[in-house]
Subunit: 187 residues, 2 copies
DNA sequence: GTTATTTCTTATCATTTGTAAAGTTCCGTT
DNA sequence: AACGGAACTTTACAAATGATAAGAAATAAC
């Protein structure tokens, strides 16, 4: 997935503004297993995944909790680092070799003040991510783990082939043992 | 809490732009128990709570699930209606008599295209709400209902006096019975 | 290709949470 | 002040989930 296509899918803006924005991205080739918080400065960068699969997780009482998956076209950033500039509780792990597009957050925020189309691109970007976050929040509150599992593999069946089940279990908010029981029940 | 203060707390912008934005709001006095989806068009409006308390809920299998509380200064809108323009799964209930500031969503989006400061105000608004939504999502995944209950009353102790416990239980993702057990354990 | 390691599943038991129903307290109405 | 109804708590039992451990399958290392 190329950069122009990714930018357009967020929100189409005039060619000139899009070029201005696109110029500020650099392409990175990264290895499976890389942790972006440790190896890159995720707090001060915004990434988009061109190829590959990634997860966001946080550590609670020594246990990793996966709360997000991203694949081709997904944004990859620390929301807390990006929005508030504060240190983040999260890290991002590449689950496959990946191609990323990176932009410096400070530079992006500068563009927001200079170009109204880019500002609205950033607004729509945040709005769409907000809607997704709220839908996941409600889904978690309203639906059982089994329903959420069915939904996940309906939306993105590849995830079963590409991500370890323990991460999927964590994402669904259950233990790997419970996910096994769910899977045994279904098939 | 007055409108200017609310707008400033989202993101301060130059006086002229702020005036332009503020002009488009109207003030509404509403009664406790009012449902904004039924009585107002929440899909096409954005509100801010000047006074009062409100909740957002959705109905799942005939059961109301409260997924959000808002108080003085909080935005009050259907994210889905606002972002995607589609029909929403949610309704907003006023838990107290309330004073609201209302702006038409179409008019607001028009302002975004005309004034870069307002566009960035809207961007920061979405970003901040996004961060809150993500923090709640992670909190729900990582913390027990008891921890989230303690946090809620630490952040907003008034909620115990102003909202029925069954809504708080629903918000925490447990039944009223379980919330009673949590409360009995604590005190 | 074999071995070693990790991942996933299955089984057992303990804990937590939900459901249903009964009891108590709190509020508003008359 | 008394009544009626709603909200909250408590109890008993059932169902679901977690923890632990052992076994099977898949993957990686050599």
């Amino acid at each position: 997935m190329d950069l122009m296509q990714i930018l357009d899918e967020v929100y189409p803006i005039p060619e000139q503004s899009k070029q201005l924005l696109a110029q500020c991205f650099e392409q990175l080739d990264c290895r499976k297993g890389q942790l972006l918080f440790q190896t890159q400065k995720i707090g001060s960068s915004v990434y988009f995944l061109s190829q590959g699969l990634a997860r966001a997780y946080t550590v609670q009482d020594g246990v990793e909790v996966t709360f997000w998956f991203g694949w081709e076209g997904s944004p990859l950033l620390s929301m807390k680092g990006y929005v508030s500039g504060e240190h983040s509780y999260e890290d991002l792990e590449l689950l496959e070799n990946a191609v990323l597009f990176r932009i410096d957050a400070t530079q992006l925020k500068h563009l927001f003040t200079k170009d109204i189309h880019i500002a609205n691109w950033g607004r729509v970007f945040a709005e769409k991510e907000l809607l997704k976050a709220e839908e996941r929040l409600i889904s978690r509150q309203v639906k059982t783990a089994e329903m959420r599992y069915r939904e996940l593999i309906a939306v993105y069946p590849d995830i079963l082939l590409r991500a370890p089940l323990r991460h999927i279990a964590s994402y669904l908010g259950v233990t790997p043992v419970t996910l096994s029981r769910i899977r045994a029940n279904i098939s």
